[in-house]
Symmetry: C2
Subunit: 199 residues, 2 copies
Protein backbone atom coordinates (compact mmCIF):
# COMPACT_ATOMS: atom_id res chain seq x y z
CA UNK A 1 0.00 0.00 0.00
CA UNK A 2 1.50 3.17 -1.22
CA UNK A 3 0.29 6.62 -1.95
CA UNK A 4 -3.09 5.52 -3.24
CA UNK A 5 -4.88 8.68 -2.41
CA UNK A 6 -2.34 10.70 -4.38
CA UNK A 7 -2.35 13.29 -1.71
CA UNK A 8 -1.03 12.22 1.57
CA UNK A 9 2.04 14.28 1.18
CA UNK A 10 4.05 14.48 4.27
CA UNK A 11 4.05 18.20 3.98
CA UNK A 12 1.18 20.30 2.86
CA UNK A 13 2.08 23.52 1.14
CA UNK A 14 0.57 26.65 -0.30
CA UNK A 15 -3.19 26.74 -0.57
CA UNK A 16 -3.61 23.34 1.06
CA UNK A 17 -1.91 24.41 4.18
CA UNK A 18 -3.50 27.80 4.14
CA UNK A 19 -6.94 26.31 4.00
CA UNK A 20 -6.18 23.98 6.85
CA UNK A 21 -5.08 26.89 8.98
CA UNK A 22 -8.05 29.06 8.12
CA UNK A 23 -10.40 26.21 8.77
CA UNK A 24 -8.87 25.57 12.16
CA UNK A 25 -9.01 29.24 12.98
CA UNK A 26 -12.65 29.40 12.00
CA UNK A 27 -13.56 26.44 14.17
CA UNK A 28 -11.73 27.76 17.18
CA UNK A 29 -13.23 31.17 16.67
CA UNK A 30 -16.65 29.63 16.91
CA UNK A 31 -15.73 27.60 19.93
CA UNK A 32 -13.88 30.05 22.09
CA UNK A 33 -14.28 33.46 20.49
CA UNK A 34 -11.65 35.89 19.35
CA UNK A 35 -10.33 36.80 22.75
CA UNK A 36 -9.47 33.28 23.73
CA UNK A 37 -8.25 32.32 20.33
CA UNK A 38 -4.53 31.66 20.42
CA UNK A 39 -2.09 31.32 17.61
CA UNK A 40 -0.59 28.27 19.23
CA UNK A 41 -3.97 26.56 19.36
CA UNK A 42 -4.67 27.33 15.73
CA UNK A 43 -1.30 25.96 14.72
CA UNK A 44 -1.79 22.84 16.77
CA UNK A 45 -5.27 22.17 15.46
CA UNK A 46 -4.02 22.57 11.90
CA UNK A 47 -0.99 20.41 12.60
CA UNK A 48 1.13 23.28 11.51
CA UNK A 49 3.86 25.30 13.09
CA UNK A 50 3.41 28.81 14.35
CA UNK A 51 5.83 30.36 11.87
CA UNK A 52 3.58 29.11 9.11
CA UNK A 53 0.84 31.35 10.40
CA UNK A 54 3.07 34.35 10.67
CA UNK A 55 4.45 33.81 7.22
CA UNK A 56 0.97 34.31 5.84
CA UNK A 57 -0.68 36.75 8.17
CA UNK A 58 0.99 39.63 9.93
CA UNK A 59 -0.91 39.10 13.14
CA UNK A 60 -3.71 37.31 14.90
CA UNK A 61 -6.41 39.76 13.93
CA UNK A 62 -5.60 39.46 10.25
CA UNK A 63 -5.75 35.73 10.42
CA UNK A 64 -9.08 35.84 12.19
CA UNK A 65 -10.42 38.30 9.67
CA UNK A 66 -9.34 36.06 6.81
CA UNK A 67 -11.07 33.11 8.39
CA UNK A 68 -14.29 35.03 8.76
CA UNK A 69 -14.07 36.31 5.22
CA UNK A 70 -13.61 32.77 3.98
CA UNK A 71 -16.08 30.86 6.10
CA UNK A 72 -18.39 33.50 7.48
CA UNK A 73 -21.72 34.45 5.95
CA UNK A 74 -21.20 36.07 2.60
CA UNK A 75 -22.26 39.63 2.21
CA UNK A 76 -25.32 39.51 0.09
CA UNK A 77 -24.03 41.29 -2.96
CA UNK A 78 -27.58 42.04 -3.92
CA UNK A 79 -27.94 45.76 -3.67
CA UNK A 80 -31.43 46.76 -2.70
CA UNK A 81 -33.36 49.02 -5.04
CA UNK A 82 -36.56 49.72 -3.23
CA UNK A 83 -37.16 53.06 -4.84
CA UNK A 84 -36.21 55.04 -1.79
CA UNK A 85 -32.81 55.93 -0.45
CA UNK A 86 -33.96 55.48 3.10
CA UNK A 87 -35.24 51.97 2.54
CA UNK A 88 -32.21 51.00 0.51
CA UNK A 89 -29.85 52.06 3.26
CA UNK A 90 -31.81 50.38 6.00
CA UNK A 91 -32.10 47.21 4.00
CA UNK A 92 -28.42 47.11 3.18
CA UNK A 93 -27.12 47.70 6.66
CA UNK A 94 -29.65 45.30 7.98
CA UNK A 95 -27.81 42.65 6.01
CA UNK A 96 -24.52 43.58 7.60
CA UNK A 97 -25.82 42.89 11.05
CA UNK A 98 -25.92 39.22 10.27
CA UNK A 99 -22.19 38.82 10.23
CA UNK A 100 -22.05 39.92 13.80
CA UNK A 101 -25.16 38.15 14.88
CA UNK A 102 -24.04 34.74 13.72
CA UNK A 103 -21.53 34.55 16.52
CA UNK A 104 -22.96 36.87 19.01
CA UNK A 105 -20.87 39.96 19.35
CA UNK A 106 -18.97 38.74 22.42
CA UNK A 107 -17.23 36.19 20.28
CA UNK A 108 -15.86 39.02 18.19
CA UNK A 109 -14.83 41.23 21.06
CA UNK A 110 -11.42 42.62 20.52
CA UNK A 111 -11.22 41.71 16.87
CA UNK A 112 -12.31 45.04 15.56
CA UNK A 113 -10.14 47.02 17.92
CA UNK A 114 -7.17 44.86 17.09
CA UNK A 115 -7.79 45.38 13.41
CA UNK A 116 -7.93 49.10 13.97
CA UNK A 117 -4.36 49.00 15.14
CA UNK A 118 -3.16 48.32 11.64
CA UNK A 119 -5.80 49.72 9.35
CA UNK A 120 -8.16 52.69 9.36
CA UNK A 121 -11.85 52.16 9.89
CA UNK A 122 -12.95 52.57 6.32
CA UNK A 123 -10.68 49.78 5.24
CA UNK A 124 -12.04 47.24 7.69
CA UNK A 125 -14.24 45.75 5.05
CA UNK A 126 -11.61 45.51 2.38
CA UNK A 127 -10.25 42.14 1.51
CA UNK A 128 -6.81 41.70 0.11
CA UNK A 129 -7.89 40.96 -3.43
CA UNK A 130 -11.24 42.62 -3.87
CA UNK A 131 -11.91 46.24 -3.22
CA UNK A 132 -14.06 47.59 -0.48
CA UNK A 133 -17.35 45.96 -1.23
CA UNK A 134 -19.25 47.85 1.38
CA UNK A 135 -18.01 51.11 0.00
CA UNK A 136 -18.96 50.18 -3.52
CA UNK A 137 -22.41 49.12 -2.46
CA UNK A 138 -23.07 52.34 -0.65
CA UNK A 139 -21.98 54.26 -3.70
CA UNK A 140 -24.28 52.32 -5.93
CA UNK A 141 -27.20 52.90 -3.63
CA UNK A 142 -26.43 56.58 -3.68
CA UNK A 143 -26.20 56.67 -7.43
CA UNK A 144 -29.58 55.06 -7.67
CA UNK A 145 -30.87 57.77 -5.40
CA UNK A 146 -29.34 60.35 -7.68
CA UNK A 147 -31.29 58.96 -10.61
CA UNK A 148 -34.44 59.56 -8.65
CA UNK A 149 -33.31 63.08 -7.90
CA UNK A 150 -32.81 62.50 -4.18
CA UNK A 151 -29.28 63.86 -4.16
CA UNK A 152 -26.29 64.89 -6.23
CA UNK A 153 -23.65 62.23 -6.05
CA UNK A 154 -20.64 64.26 -7.05
CA UNK A 155 -21.26 66.60 -4.16
CA UNK A 156 -20.48 63.83 -1.72
CA UNK A 157 -16.91 63.84 -0.47
CA UNK A 158 -14.94 60.69 0.37
CA UNK A 159 -15.39 61.46 4.03
CA UNK A 160 -19.13 61.47 3.59
CA UNK A 161 -19.01 58.27 1.60
CA UNK A 162 -17.11 56.60 4.40
CA UNK A 163 -19.55 57.76 7.01
CA UNK A 164 -21.78 54.67 6.87
CA UNK A 165 -18.84 52.34 7.55
CA UNK A 166 -17.58 54.55 10.31
CA UNK A 167 -20.90 54.69 12.08
CA UNK A 168 -21.49 51.01 11.71
CA UNK A 169 -18.08 50.09 13.06
CA UNK A 170 -18.58 52.50 15.89
CA UNK A 171 -21.70 50.69 16.98
CA UNK A 172 -19.94 47.37 16.88
CA UNK A 173 -16.98 48.66 18.82
CA UNK A 174 -19.26 50.22 21.37
CA UNK A 175 -20.18 46.73 22.44
CA UNK A 176 -23.85 47.36 22.10
CA UNK A 177 -25.80 45.01 19.95
CA UNK A 178 -26.62 46.51 16.62
CA UNK A 179 -30.34 46.15 16.10
CA UNK A 180 -32.58 47.24 13.29
CA UNK A 181 -33.77 50.07 15.48
CA UNK A 182 -30.21 51.32 15.71
CA UNK A 183 -29.85 51.08 11.97
CA UNK A 184 -32.95 53.09 11.24
CA UNK A 185 -31.93 55.71 13.77
CA UNK A 186 -28.56 56.09 12.15
CA UNK A 187 -30.10 56.36 8.72
CA UNK A 188 -32.78 58.83 9.73
CA UNK A 189 -30.81 61.01 12.06
CA UNK A 190 -27.46 61.07 10.38
CA UNK A 191 -27.04 59.49 6.97
CA UNK A 192 -30.08 60.93 5.23
CA UNK A 193 -29.47 64.48 6.43
CA UNK A 194 -25.85 64.30 5.35
CA UNK A 195 -26.46 62.71 1.98
CA UNK A 196 -29.28 64.98 1.04
CA UNK A 197 -27.73 68.17 2.39
CA UNK A 198 -26.67 69.09 -1.12
CA UNK A 199 -29.60 67.80 -3.05
Amino acid sequence: MSKIETNHPKRRRGADLENAVLSSAWQLLNEVGYHDLTMAAIAKKANAAKPVLYRRWPDKSSLAASAILKFGPKLDVKIPDTGSLREDLIDFFGQLIKIFDIFGTEKLNGLVTDRLKSIPMEKLFETSNSDNKLQKSVEEILKNAEKRGELVFKNLSPRVLHLPSVLFINEVVSQESVTMAVITDIVDEILLPVFTANS
Copy 2:
Protein backbone atom coordinates in the same frame (compact mmCIF):
# COMPACT_ATOMS: atom_id res chain seq x y z
CA MET B 1 10.81 66.42 64.91
CA SER B 2 7.72 64.63 63.98
CA LYS B 3 7.23 62.70 60.86
CA ILE B 4 4.47 64.91 59.66
CA GLU B 5 6.71 66.33 57.00
CA THR B 6 7.34 62.79 55.76
CA ASN B 7 10.71 63.83 54.54
CA HIS B 8 12.31 60.57 53.68
CA PRO B 9 9.73 57.97 54.29
CA LYS B 10 10.94 54.63 53.33
CA ARG B 11 7.66 53.89 51.71
CA ARG B 12 5.54 56.29 49.82
CA ARG B 13 1.85 55.68 49.90
CA GLY B 14 -1.40 56.96 48.50
CA ALA B 15 -1.27 60.16 46.50
CA ASP B 16 2.48 60.47 46.84
CA LEU B 17 3.10 57.20 45.18
CA GLU B 18 0.39 57.70 42.65
CA ASN B 19 1.88 60.98 41.55
CA ALA B 20 5.29 59.44 41.21
CA VAL B 21 3.90 56.73 39.00
CA LEU B 22 1.89 59.09 36.82
CA SER B 23 4.85 61.38 36.46
CA SER B 24 7.07 58.51 35.38
CA ALA B 25 4.45 57.33 32.97
CA TRP B 26 4.14 60.79 31.49
CA GLN B 27 7.86 61.13 30.98
CA LEU B 28 8.21 57.74 29.37
CA LEU B 29 5.21 58.42 27.19
CA ASN B 30 6.97 61.48 25.85
CA GLU B 31 10.20 59.64 25.37
CA VAL B 32 9.15 56.41 23.76
CA GLY B 33 5.45 56.74 22.92
CA TYR B 34 2.57 54.56 23.97
CA HIS B 35 3.52 51.52 22.00
CA ASP B 36 6.91 51.15 23.57
CA LEU B 37 5.75 52.14 26.99
CA THR B 38 6.01 49.21 29.35
CA MET B 39 4.55 48.75 32.77
CA ALA B 40 7.85 47.41 34.03
CA ALA B 41 9.65 50.53 32.88
CA ILE B 42 7.12 52.80 34.52
CA ALA B 43 7.41 50.90 37.75
CA LYS B 44 11.16 50.99 37.66
CA LYS B 45 11.36 54.67 36.90
CA ALA B 46 8.99 55.40 39.76
CA ASN B 47 10.88 53.07 42.07
CA ALA B 48 7.68 51.20 42.59
CA ALA B 49 6.58 47.66 42.09
CA LYS B 50 4.37 46.54 39.26
CA PRO B 51 1.52 45.45 41.50
CA VAL B 52 1.30 49.02 42.69
CA LEU B 53 0.37 50.06 39.20
CA TYR B 54 -2.20 47.37 38.79
CA ARG B 55 -3.73 48.13 42.13
CA ARG B 56 -4.59 51.59 40.84
CA TRP B 57 -5.22 51.17 37.16
CA PRO B 58 -6.84 48.19 35.51
CA ASP B 59 -4.48 48.21 32.56
CA LYS B 60 -1.78 50.04 30.71
CA SER B 61 -4.10 52.16 28.62
CA SER B 62 -5.92 53.48 31.68
CA LEU B 63 -2.68 54.42 33.32
CA ALA B 64 -1.50 56.20 30.20
CA ALA B 65 -4.80 58.02 29.91
CA SER B 66 -4.55 59.15 33.53
CA ALA B 67 -1.06 60.46 32.96
CA ILE B 68 -2.17 62.46 29.96
CA LEU B 69 -5.17 63.79 31.80
CA LYS B 70 -2.91 64.91 34.62
CA PHE B 71 0.06 66.31 32.78
CA GLY B 72 -1.17 66.86 29.26
CA PRO B 73 -2.51 70.15 27.94
CA LYS B 74 -5.72 71.05 29.63
CA LEU B 75 -8.80 71.26 27.54
CA ASP B 76 -9.57 74.92 27.33
CA VAL B 77 -12.84 74.99 29.20
CA LYS B 78 -13.60 78.20 27.47
CA ILE B 79 -16.49 77.50 25.21
CA PRO B 80 -16.40 79.63 22.11
CA ASP B 81 -19.35 81.89 21.38
CA THR B 82 -18.56 83.44 18.08
CA GLY B 83 -22.13 83.99 17.07
CA SER B 84 -22.19 81.17 14.57
CA LEU B 85 -22.56 77.47 15.14
CA ARG B 86 -20.11 76.71 12.41
CA GLU B 87 -17.37 78.86 13.86
CA ASP B 88 -18.04 77.64 17.38
CA LEU B 89 -17.64 74.03 16.35
CA ILE B 90 -14.52 74.64 14.33
CA ASP B 91 -12.99 76.65 17.11
CA PHE B 92 -13.76 74.06 19.75
CA PHE B 93 -12.49 71.05 17.89
CA GLY B 94 -9.48 73.01 16.83
CA GLN B 95 -8.59 73.12 20.50
CA LEU B 96 -8.82 69.37 20.80
CA ILE B 97 -6.21 68.85 18.14
CA LYS B 98 -3.60 70.19 20.47
CA ILE B 99 -3.69 67.20 22.74
CA PHE B 100 -2.68 65.00 19.89
CA ASP B 101 -0.30 67.46 18.31
CA ILE B 102 1.81 67.90 21.40
CA PHE B 103 3.20 64.45 20.99
CA GLY B 104 2.70 63.79 17.40
CA THR B 105 0.08 61.18 16.81
CA GLU B 106 2.55 58.32 16.43
CA LYS B 107 3.37 58.62 20.09
CA LEU B 108 -0.26 57.88 20.86
CA ASN B 109 -0.66 55.03 18.42
CA GLY B 110 -2.41 52.16 20.04
CA LEU B 111 -3.65 54.09 23.01
CA VAL B 112 -7.05 54.87 21.61
CA THR B 113 -7.61 51.39 20.28
CA ASP B 114 -6.56 49.90 23.58
CA ARG B 115 -8.95 52.18 25.40
CA LEU B 116 -11.72 51.11 23.09
CA LYS B 117 -11.34 47.59 24.36
CA SER B 118 -12.80 48.59 27.70
CA ILE B 119 -14.95 51.61 27.02
CA PRO B 120 -17.17 52.80 24.20
CA MET B 121 -16.08 55.69 22.05
CA GLU B 122 -18.27 58.34 23.56
CA LYS B 123 -16.75 57.74 26.95
CA LEU B 124 -13.18 58.20 25.84
CA PHE B 125 -13.18 61.75 27.07
CA GLU B 126 -14.68 61.04 30.41
CA THR B 127 -12.46 61.21 33.41
CA SER B 128 -13.11 59.21 36.52
CA ASN B 129 -14.38 62.10 38.57
CA SER B 130 -15.71 64.65 36.13
CA ASP B 131 -18.32 63.95 33.54
CA ASN B 132 -17.71 63.98 29.85
CA LYS B 133 -16.44 67.49 29.34
CA LEU B 134 -16.36 67.25 25.61
CA GLN B 135 -19.94 66.15 25.55
CA LYS B 136 -21.04 68.98 27.81
CA SER B 137 -19.20 71.52 25.74
CA VAL B 138 -20.78 70.38 22.54
CA GLU B 139 -24.17 70.60 24.15
CA GLU B 140 -23.55 74.11 25.32
CA ILE B 141 -22.42 75.18 21.90
CA LEU B 142 -25.58 73.70 20.46
CA LYS B 143 -27.77 75.43 23.01
CA ASN B 144 -26.20 78.72 22.11
CA ALA B 145 -27.02 77.98 18.52
CA GLU B 146 -30.58 77.28 19.52
CA LYS B 147 -30.86 80.73 21.07
CA ARG B 148 -29.90 82.16 17.71
CA GLY B 149 -32.51 80.00 16.05
CA GLU B 150 -30.05 77.82 14.19
CA LEU B 151 -31.53 74.58 15.44
CA VAL B 152 -33.86 72.94 17.92
CA PHE B 153 -31.88 71.31 20.65
CA LYS B 154 -34.44 68.85 21.91
CA ASN B 155 -34.67 67.31 18.50
CA LEU B 156 -31.12 66.10 18.76
CA SER B 157 -30.84 62.50 19.91
CA PRO B 158 -27.98 61.17 22.06
CA ARG B 159 -26.54 59.49 19.01
CA VAL B 160 -26.39 62.80 17.24
CA LEU B 161 -24.85 64.49 20.26
CA HIS B 162 -22.13 61.86 20.32
CA LEU B 163 -21.38 62.26 16.68
CA PRO B 164 -18.66 64.89 17.13
CA SER B 165 -16.70 62.66 19.48
CA VAL B 166 -17.12 59.68 17.24
CA LEU B 167 -15.90 61.49 14.18
CA PHE B 168 -12.99 63.01 15.99
CA ILE B 169 -11.88 59.71 17.43
CA ASN B 170 -12.24 58.12 14.07
CA GLU B 171 -9.81 60.56 12.55
CA VAL B 172 -7.33 59.93 15.31
CA VAL B 173 -7.64 56.19 15.02
CA SER B 174 -7.21 56.43 11.28
CA GLN B 175 -3.66 57.50 11.91
CA GLU B 176 -3.99 60.51 9.75
CA SER B 177 -3.02 63.79 11.24
CA VAL B 178 -6.02 65.81 12.21
CA THR B 179 -5.61 69.24 10.69
CA MET B 180 -7.83 72.28 10.75
CA ALA B 181 -8.79 71.46 7.18
CA VAL B 182 -10.09 68.12 8.37
CA ILE B 183 -12.01 69.78 11.14
CA THR B 184 -13.73 72.25 8.86
CA ASP B 185 -14.60 69.50 6.43
CA ILE B 186 -16.18 67.47 9.17
CA VAL B 187 -18.13 70.43 10.42
CA ASP B 188 -19.32 71.55 7.01
CA GLU B 189 -20.03 68.21 5.44
CA ILE B 190 -21.38 66.30 8.38
CA LEU B 191 -22.01 68.06 11.64
CA LEU B 192 -23.84 71.12 10.38
CA PRO B 193 -26.16 69.16 8.10
CA VAL B 194 -27.02 66.78 10.90
CA PHE B 195 -27.50 69.38 13.59
CA THR B 196 -29.61 71.64 11.46
CA ALA B 197 -31.61 68.90 9.83
CA ASN B 198 -34.46 69.62 12.21
CA SER B 199 -34.17 73.35 12.49
